[in-house]
């Protein structure tokens, strides 16, 4: 199953993703995406692709779930 990932450093909170994929993405009080569920069910994959293409900052990406999760960044040392 594919997984949605938002690059928070690129995201500008424009919200096109939430418009196209409200089933999985909602916007927080500042307009930034909250991924309720990162895994994309098969029937929503086409919409997810469209949302990824629509993001003006190329911040939304679809990853194959087989990719190892990046190690959680430790806080400041």
């Amino acid at each position: 199953m594919k997984r949605l990932v938002v690059d928070p450093t690129a995201c500008a909170g424009r919200g096109l993703c939430a418009e196209l994929l409200p089933e999985l993405i909602e916007l927080d009080r500042w307009g930034f995406p909250l991924l309720r569920e990162p895994n994309v069910p098969r029937e929503l994959e086409a919409l997810a692709d469209r949302a990824v293409a629509a993001c003006p900052k190329a911040a939304l990406r679809l990853q194959a779930s087989a990719q190892p999760k990046l190690p959680r960044r430790p806080p400041v040392s």
């Binding site: 424009r14 919200g15 418009e19 990824v52 003006p56 190329a58």
Partner: protein, 228 residues
């Protein structure tokens, strides 16, 4: 002008028509691209609609452009080879003005291709290539006025005006609603106005004047022989 043979060829009509249509489509795509920058009221139209319209119209413009180039090449009247589509200065027919068309097409093709692989290239690179649209449009406009033989017809002038109006209005709205300082905003609008004025002056004493065909570099044997 003396008509030769059986009247104007279909290819020639297509070239002029698609060229003009492409100018309008390009203007609309540019305008929507500006609108994409975010000042669009969300209640009126969802942001993704503006975005997808922009991409759709840009693709339409490129399609029209492809037909425009193909028909111009296939038409034996002006002797334009296929290389002229991408290489400026390779035609004997109005080399400068046609060359500008090639430059505009090159830029637009680059923008389109880079957008197809947008997720594979770094975002800043994609952005910089995309901004070349601001160069492609005026170049296309100069090409349209400089090399088109319909310049003095009202329908063409109307089409060009529509295209300019779309771009102008979009830019005006964006500048007005941006958070730039009042001075900068005034400066930008003033700059646009000056550019428009200079263009109008050039158009009036250039393409819209009587002997433009000769001045633009139309080969002698085609002048006075009129169009088929």
């Amino acid at each position: 002008m003396v008509a030769l043979g059986g009247g104007p060829s279909l290819l020639w009509y297509l070239t002029r028509g698609t060229g003009t249509a492409a100018l309008i489509a390009l203007g609309a795509a540019l305008a929507l691209g500006v609108a994409n920058l975010g000042a669009w009221p969300a209640s009126r139209l969802p942001a993704f609609v503006v975005d997808e319209l922009h991409r759709y119209l840009a693709a339409v413009a490129l399609l029209l452009l492809a037909v425009h180039i193909l028909t111009a090449v296939l038409d034996p009247f002006a002797g334009i080879g296929i290389a002229a589509a991408i290489l400026p200065g390779t035609t004997s027919y109005r080399p400068l003005w046609l060359g500008l068309g090639a430059v505009a097409f090159d830029l637009l093709a680059l923008i389109y291709l880079s957008s197809r692989i947008r997720l594979l290239i770094p975002y800043p690179l994609w952005k910089r290539i995309h901004l070349l649209a601001w160069l492609a449009y005026p170049v296309a406009l100069l090409h349209a006025f400089g090399s088109g033989s319909d310049v003095r017809f009202p329908w063409f002038l109307l089409a060009a005006l529509c295209s300019l109006a779309l771009v102008g209005l979009a830019c005006l709205q964006r500048i007005a609603t941006s958070r730039l300082s009042a001075d900068l905003r005034l400066g930008l609008i003033g700059g646009f106005a000056v550019a428009l004025l200079l263009f109008a002056i050039w158009a009036v004493q250039g393409p819209l004047a009587a002997n433009w065909a000769k001045r633009a570099g139309t080969p002698a044997q085609l002048i006075g022989g009129g169009r088929r």
